[in-house]
Symmetry: C2
Subunit: 243 residues, 2 copies
DNA sequence: CGCCTAGAGTCTACAACGTAGAGCTTTTGC
DNA sequence: GCAAAAGCTCTACGTTGTAGACTCTAGGCG
């Protein structure tokens, strides 16, 4: 299997053909259509046949751009992760990590249906074999931390705690989020009402609090806690952080 | 749809029939077989037909005990969560949370194939409508925290940060874990070797560290950080924690 | 003792899925 | 202008989830 990078050697002009209805496909077009479909109708709607129909093509043609459905899912997840731009400009690593956290959160809110892929797909692929786009954030954050003065090994640990919490928070928030915020509260109350009061007193009492949930604030608070904990307990000259 | 609790009213003796090969099914038997199958061969192996075969029954019979395949997955995930016993004996809430964290980690390691379900299934079901077994840990931990002196709202926040980090860590660790630890290092090196050195210098350099990963230690450290951060910054009389 | 009504279990059938393989058509390189 | 390659389509097969009708078994009641 060839690497997925577009082969640069020949000058490959897209060269749109005469027929107006059908232009040439490309991996990018396919993946974008797939992402759009998932965003609009959920993961289950992403079938080869459906995607083919969406593109006005025979489903079989898709196999030219993704080896199989699983690879297509990986492609979608990579595509989404590529939306996360990590620009290592800010020298303050804490501020940077905080910003990335919020960026990732927004990414998740923009593509809630893809989140299960993001957290789940890597489980089926050993680290070394993942698509490059998936590994890039890892590399960049390691770089960020090491540049900030941490040892490589510590950087790895920090990365893990950080991304661990991040993913966890996103999963939490998306559970709250679900469909329609208007209907949300009613549905929530209705659902909680179903719980046996004897067994779930706390949960039932928290219904109003559960209904309005500020994910952004909660994330920020969590990150603050994590960062302060990390900065304090790691062997660090303490030059760069502003106390 | 009737509640899934076994109807107590008539004295329902299981009453094994004459034929030795086939006893009466039950939701519990079905779910246990499903879990066993998932543990042994992964989520994809859990098809209605396969499960039927495993039980020596016609696949259609399963629909008596789970409305459809999705409900069956929910059942499996609930079954696993029920393995997590939360016994509110220890008065030290921090110690308790730490213990639960390790318990949950062990649970995940025991059923790695179910973890995607655990983190993903709730996304498709609004909180109020989830199976009771899924909500019980939430209720119990809330209870634990409130009994320890936190306000209900704070308890909820703590729960979220805590479970967020926990789930994140588990996902992280399972990515490391994958299949076979022996083959792991070789595969890892091989995989990392594929990365373009210019673009991924940090990651490549960390290969040896990546290879041996102590999930238990890392979890414990993370929890420590989180707990200290939480205990410090929450409006709390400070009577119960031992400083 | 025998019928009779549930419910448990089975059989058959169907639409939709992923994908192999052969064939057709357009584009590309010389 | 032509051969080769690449893009695309068609047909076909095995597998999946599940609806609906059927059969069988267990137990209550005369």
């Amino acid at each position: 299997m060839s690497p997925e990078a577009n082969p640069a050697p020949p000058a490959a002009a897209p060269a749109p053909p005469a027929v107006p209805g059908k232009k040439r496909l490309s991996r990018e077009i396919v993946l974008c259509a797939a992402l759009a479909l998932v965003d609009a109708e959920g993961l289950d709607a992403l079938t080869m046949r459906r995607l083919g129909q969406e593109l006005g093509r025979d489903p079989m043609g898709l196999y030219r751009y993704a080896e199989n459905r699983a690879a297509l899912l990986d492609g979608v997840s990579e595509l989404v992760l590529n939306e996360l731009a990590i620009i290592p400009d800010d020298p303050d690593w804490q501020a940077q990590l905080r910003r990335i956290a919020h960026d990732l959160r927004h990414l998740a809110l923009r593509h809630p249906n893809v989140v299960p892929l993001l957290v789940t797909r890597p489980l089926s692929t050993p680290l070394g074999l993942r698509p490059l786009g998936t590994l890039r954030p890892l590399e960049q954050i390691l770089s960020l931390l090491i540049d900030a003065g941490f040892g490589p090994e510590d950087a790895l640990h920090i990365y893990r705690a950080y991304y661990g919490y991040l993913y966890g928070h996103i999963l939490n928030e998306l559970q709250e989020f679900i469909v329609d915020p208007d209907e949300n509260e009613a549905l929530l109350r209705l659902g909680l009402h179903r719980l046996p009061p004897k067994e779930f007193p706390r949960l039932r009492a928290l219904a109003p609090v559960l209904a309005d949930y500020d994910g952004m604030a909660e994330l920020d608070e969590g990150i603050t806690i994590l960062l302060s904990g990390l900065a304090a307990r790691l062997p660090h000259p303490g030059a760069q952080t502003k106390p």
